[in-house]
């Protein structure tokens, strides 16, 4: 029938828009990796960089101490893993934010505002300062991540229980998150003061969210965990859509809401822990990116999740590039730039939304 055809066409273009958005974001992400390698303390031309990359991939090895050897080291060992990690972290944090917002039906949920990042950070501080870990014994392997995971789960549990007791209004959740962040920050401060100056400086620098210490060996675990996490969440996206309808409707459609919530939040905590371990706390990505994405392509989680991943990666990488551009001596961390971008947007979101939403 004619209406049916028209509907089909409309639906196709509707979906098509979303797919194009995701595709464009994905392509931009790849291009941006290539461009970001240009920025940094050392002055290298773009042509030279690509020449080095190509030669490295085809297996040329340089003699130690030559100019090319040093340039190759900088480009391949320092800048490239940093760009890749930025994409992974941005994607992971954005997807965590998007899913948290669906699962808790709270447009202001994100790893940072709910205090989960602070908890993970405290776990890392425990591993670094006290040396107490559950598994493994170094920071670049599972030891630190498991610690961070354990301490990221605590805020998560608090938030779930609190939102059931006191109501799940966005404001309440945020206030609880602020309180939890405050508690964990105090605990971390306590630990920091018990250690000597150099450890304290290390923990402090790392708390803020900087990609300076990212190398190739910090990539495998976060990449693996976040990749698997995003795929799993994508597979669960249909159920997430149902959750968004409301608990009663969801239950009547046969979905075990509690189980679903807990599983999602566990996956999210794991992803966040793996990222926080290597770069500290970077806020606002999980909060702001899903809102922007939803404003463009609506709230179907099938598309919101991949789109958030792509856009999140781009935004964090851009923030890192800006940080490197502004301070070639690598003084300003990416997390600061990110909060500089994200906080005003957050304020804007609150002020401009209609009253009923809150």
């Amino acid at each position: 029938m004619e209406t049916r055809e028209a509907l089909k066409e409309e639906y196709k273009s509707y979906i098509g828009r979303k797919i194009i958005f995701i595709a464009v974001c994905g392509a931009l992400a790849v291009l941006l990796i290539g461009a970001s390698v240009y920025f940094g303390g050392s002055d290298l031309s773009l042509a030279h960089i690509y020449d080095l990359l190509w030669k490295h991939i085809t297996g040329t090895v340089y003699e130690v101490g030559t100019d090319d050897f040093h340039d190759d080291y900088v480009v391949w060992e320092l800048r490239l893993p940093r760009a890749i990690f930025a994409i992974i972290a941005g994607a992971g944090l954005a997807v965590c934010g998007a899913v948290m917002q669906s699962v808790m039906k709270n447009p202001l949920a994100d790893p940072y505002t709910t205090g989960i990042s602070s908890g993970a950070c405290f776990g890392m501080a425990v591993a670094m300062i006290l040396g107490i870990t559950i598994a493994g014994n170094s920071i670049t392997d599972m030891g630190g991540i498991m610690n961070a995971f354990l301490f990221a789960v605590l805020p998560m549990l608090f938030i779930i229980v609190i939102s059931k007791r006191v109501g799940s209004m966005p404001a309440t959740l945020i206030l609880a998150g602020v309180a939890i962040t405050y508690i964990f920050n105090s605990l971390t401060t306590l630990l920091m003061m018990m250690s000597d100056d150099s450890t304290m400086a290390m923990v402090y620098r790392w708390q803020v969210g900087s990609l300076s210490n990212v190398l190739w060996d910090s990539i495998p675990l976060p990449f693996f965990i976040n990749f698997v996490g995003i795929i799993v969440l994508l597979l669960l996206s249909r159920k997430l859509n149902i959750l968004a309808l409301g608990d009663e409707s969801a239950k009547s459609l046969g979905l075990d809401t509690e189980m679903m919530r807990v599983i999602c939040l566990f996956i999210i905590s794991f992803m966040i822990a793996s990222i926080v371990c290597f770069c500290g706390i970077i806020g606002f990505i999980g909060l702001v990116i899903p809102h922007i994405v939803r404003a463009i392509i609506d709230s179907d989680n099938h598309f919101v999740i991949p789109a958030s991943a792509a856009l999140g990666g781009i935004v964090l990488l851009t923030a890192d590039v800006i940080a490197r551009y502004l301070s070639p001596l690598d003084a300003i961390p990416a997390g600061v730039i990110m909060s500089f971008i994200g906080a005003p947007i957050f304020l804007l979101i609150i002020v401009m939304k209609k009253r009923e939403v809150w």
Binding site: D43, M194, D196, S198, M202, D330, A331
Partner: protein, 458 residues
Amino acid sequence: MANEVIVMNTKVIALVVVVIVVAAGAVGAAALLNNKGSNEKYYAIDGALNVYGNADGDYKIDGNDLSVIQDVIDGKKRFAHYPLADANLDGKVDSADKDLVNKIINKESCTINIINQKKTAGNYNSSVKWPVKSAIATGSSNNLLLFTFAGINEYVHGICYSTTPDWVLFPYYKDVTKLANSSTAISIDAANDTIKEYNVTALISDYTDSTISNESEYNKNGIDVIRVSAAVTDPDKYASQLLMLGFLFGTETKALEFAEWNTKVLKEIGDKVATIADANKKTVVTSNSAASTKGVWLSAGVSDYRAVMEQAGGVYAIGDDYDIYAVSGYTSGAYFKKGDTWLYQPDVNPDYIISMRVSTWYSGTVDVKDLWEKSVSAFDESEAYTNKHVYVMTGDAPITIRIAYAAAILYPDVFTMDWANGLNKEVFEKFYPADINPEGKSFVISYDDYTAAKAAAA
């Protein structure tokens, strides 16, 4: 007959005496000539060159080390007693070690191994491509002083610092590229241009563990990391630092001369301090920072600043049995601000409070009132302050000079200020390439100086 005997005996005796004198002269001349070449001077220092290959543990690598290695190979000496004999760090002493030492003696390029120190983590070994011709460094004032005295300035092409050094003291470094805004970390990316331009092969850093935490990255990039402790007060340890740099960069002579002078002066001070009776010793605390809201940092425990005071003969008021950790949560000191009271307790209450500050002392443009207030006004309720036993002194001067000034403050009858000023002048005249004359400038601010400055400003 008797006369003839006596005359003959006298002649014989004279002949014998002449023969003995000539023989002695010959032996003496031979001994002098045999003394390892007529250009070799003997330096009166005890510090050791901490490089593998320096088997006998003295201040240089020479033929003596070869003989020691040969003795170990032959089994006459035990390897465990001469750990530095294993020049190539392969775990055994053999001819390969001798070859390496020979290369060093002949000044050929090779890769040597040195001992690096880390404050908490302890010593570890590092390999260095030798001789080093070009380096970058972390630029604290103490480091820059060490570099100047070791004569290696022209080889350093990039430094990092958070507080700007006094360019009057380090005019060479004014034009050197700044690599980072912190004194503890240099990003390889930021340093890359300098590394390429000057073919840098080494990075000189200090012995704090947190400095240059990306050391393994530098090693992968082909840069060797050398750690020095530029603020040690012990003459032998300081000599080791000078020897290390002198050896690595080929400026041994200069380094040795300064090491010798330094050891001599510190020994003089030590001897004089030993003449002071225990009952007359004064207690002292020292700080090196300005007051922030957290307060002034008072060093304690293991601290280079404390060591300066102790070498000057002071007894540190925050003793090792005092639980500073319980007061401040740090093991190396504590903050003290105006509201605090722990310093006044009878078991701490120091006789003297001396603050060592970095400022423009050598330009003679120190703002006396401002520096005093920022450094020691937090202590104005202490007994030391009421007795006018509080001082602010220079923290830029070479370590030995700081010790001299501290000694002059604490024991004015044994060490005079003129003597300390004289040493200050002497060290710059003899060993410093830049034209710096400390004469006429003041390096110690006393309470009276402060009141005078305050009155003048009003």
